[in-house]
Symmetry: C2
């Protein structure tokens, strides 16, 4: 009937598979399942009433603006608010440096569109954010994967990959997805210097930076790039493009993210965004601005931090209580995820099938590696989300998961685990 279509798909759909997370969603939506699989914020902390008031205010005071076509760059007061907001982290930006995107995912798509020709290499962490790989794959990206440890990207393994001439590097310095790790202050300094030395731009993706539960905020790469390299152009953006989002602080259902970049890069991105979706919903931008204003967002983020820190700590405790001692996990100081390492020979994909039978879900580690990026190592990991489930569910879910884990490890090393 419509076989004519299949033969017509462009090269860029080659090898695109539906994301594992997407397929999981069907399963995890069953009420008996406790899911650590998604990256969902806790919906019970959404500031619903504030949203309702904001909608009323926007539609009463400026309905014609809110419901009409708007500028591709974004709603000017929101761009200004973002520029003010990121100044606290040392990022010097004017509204002209800020492009509003339809979620941070669109930022990744536009960056892929702007920078990647088929066959271009992108330097990524191993593991890295699945959605970035999906966005970049479409444009024919190849990858150079550099492993991370608890201090983020392994600096000692970085110089050769940089020398190989990647088009850019893509890094999540804070509470990385999926690793939960944070790039140390020392490595941040080294990274911007080395990137500058080899002329490799950095995409700094920072969706979770504000969700820190302990310790001090570390300096963004975009700021170190300016300070260490004395870029004095009035804004701090030289070799680094900085991305963030309202998805983890206000609500992901808005689909609101942003890009901070030099004006000439913003200008190109604006042209690409115009062809991609004209602009992000004016109404949603105005509502988000109205919700966030007068320091509400700052207060609200404090609440989120309290809730997520408790859930993280409950997960730490439950893991210690239930999991066998040969299993380890990262100790993220913020964000939404931790990363579990199973002993050699374990297989998280098979473990996932067993977990399903126990009514608990996670994402197997191999989803987070670029093609040819350490797939053997990848099998030994699972990503666990601690923001979406309640403390009680977390305890029970980790208990269920431990049953599946123990069963697999016993089959692997029958004698060792029987001790």
């Amino acid at each position: 009937m419509s076989t004519a279509w299949t033969s017509r798909y462009a090269q860029r759909t080659k090898g695109i598979k539906s994301s594992a997370i997407r397929e999981l969603l069907k399963f995890t939506q069953r009420p008996e399942v406790i899911s650590f699989a998604g990256g969902l914020p806790a919906s019970e902390v959404f500031p619903t009433e504030r949203f309702r008031d904001a909608c009323c205010k926007v539609l009463e005071s400026q309905p014609h603006l809110a419901l009409q076509y708007g500028a591709t760059e974004g709603y000017e007061p929101l761009r200004e608010m973002i520029a003010r907001h990121i100044a606290r982290y040392g990022i010097k930006a004017k509204s002209e440096n800020v492009l509003i995107t339809s979620g941070s995912q669109q930022a990744l798509d536009l960056i892929g569109k702007l920078l990647i020709n088929p066959g271009d290499r992108v330097l990524v962490e191993a593991p890295t954010y699945l959605g970035a790989l999906q966005a970049f794959n479409v444009y024919g990206a190849d990858y150079v994967s550099v492993p991370s440890d608890e201090d983020g990207l392994r600096f000692d393994l970085l110089e050769n990959p940089l020398r190989s001439g990647p088009k850019f590097m893509y890094v999540l310095p804070n509470f990385q997805n999926p690793g939960g790790t944070t790039l140390s202050e020392g490595r941040r300094h080294e990274l911007v210097l080395l990137a500058d030395k080899y002329g490799i731009p950095i995409i700094e993706d920072d969706p979770y930076g504000q969700l820190r539960y302990e310790g001090e905020h570390l300096t963004p790469l975009v700021v170190l790039d300016r300070e260490n390299l004395r870029r004095d152009n009035g804004y701090s953006i030289g070799n680094v493009i900085y991305l963030s989002t309202f998805s983890k602080t206000l609500a992901p259902g808005l689909r609101l993210g942003w890009i901070v970049a030099p004006p000439e890069v913003i200008a190109k991105l604006v042209q690409l965004k115009q062809g991609a979706d004209l602009h992000t919903s004016t109404f949603v931008q105005m509502v988000a601005h109205e919700v966030a204003r007068d320091n509400f967002l700052d207060e609200h983020v404090k609440l989120i931090r309290r809730v997520y820190r408790e859930r993280r700590d409950v997960m730490f405790e439950a893991l210690t209580q239930y999991f066998p001692p040969e299993v380890t996990w990262t100790r993220p100081k913020g964000g939404l995820f931790l990363w579990v390492t199973l002993p050699e020979g374990a297989d998280a994909q098979k473990l996932f099938e067993a977990a399903v039978r126990e009514n608990v879900a996670f994402v197997p580690g191999d989803c987070f590696y670029a093609p040819n990026g350490h797939q053997e190592e990848a099998r030994r990991h699972m990503r666990l989300n601690f923001s979406a489930a309640s403390p009680e569910q977390i305890r029970e879910g980790i208990r269920r998961l431990s049953v599946a884990v123990k069963t697999q490890l016993e089959a692997l090393h029958p004698i060792a685990t029987r001790r």
Copy 2:
């Protein structure tokens, strides 16, 4: 400073220029200017109160769903509503045939991403929708342009271009942007048969179909394709992908459009949309559904038709009253635009500069032609929008524009116009 970026832009940014319409916006926003340049719906007819009630209802009854991540395919009740709604035009579709997009512009981007490899030819009307050219250019499209007349795409000039093997053809059958013309019923039948004969899929873009001010609705290509070619797969979509939007019936500030396609095409588009923006705002989809339900949308569209018909008629009258007899224009039976043809030798770009001095704006015709698509002919046209300005502004604007037109024509043919 950030010169590193410029050398890194991908091939697909080559030759991308900021759209003329975009640049015009700055000028047309000055209060003294009467603009026929944009494609803005009349903001005074936005159903503001209904929107406010809908926001409250959604945020009171289902806040956790509205503000959370959602399915890439879209909000299921909205997909079902769209499937029911298009059934009145004979389009048989289930919700699984409907993908919600971030405006109709995203539909064009996803179709370009799915179907266009660099150098692939796309068959377009000359003139055609500027935004489609912008979306397809990024993927390296070449074009075959086929002229239109008052009955739409010139069928007599179609067979050779089809034989040349374009990847697909892109057609706006109803009240075309910019031409204002409608593809006749006879040509519609011929078109789907010929497309099937040569195996060329059709993208049927129908943003304005509901805004018909006189005459009967004509059968969509997607329906004729099924009927004429006896496709009995339970839905009517075989060789045609159908696009539409809420931008012209509810509000463009929502950024809500949709694609109707066979399930296997939807599945591919869903994967591409996932990488592009994960999904369209859940909140906005739920609000639109709440606004449109219980036949409100149908009643509201009747109001829009009354308002726009009046404005169109006022523009017809003013053109007749003020414009010199050697200038002609199309007589659209619906939509937002009419298309003015100036005598040979005229130059709409220069006319635009003169119009600016009279504080009136339009879009010069050459913006709407694919590269190498009849640029000589293109210079003789202007697109005029009649939905955004009030009847009084339309009369005054056409009077001002006529001053610029007469001045240019006098310079062209000093004797003829002095009679």
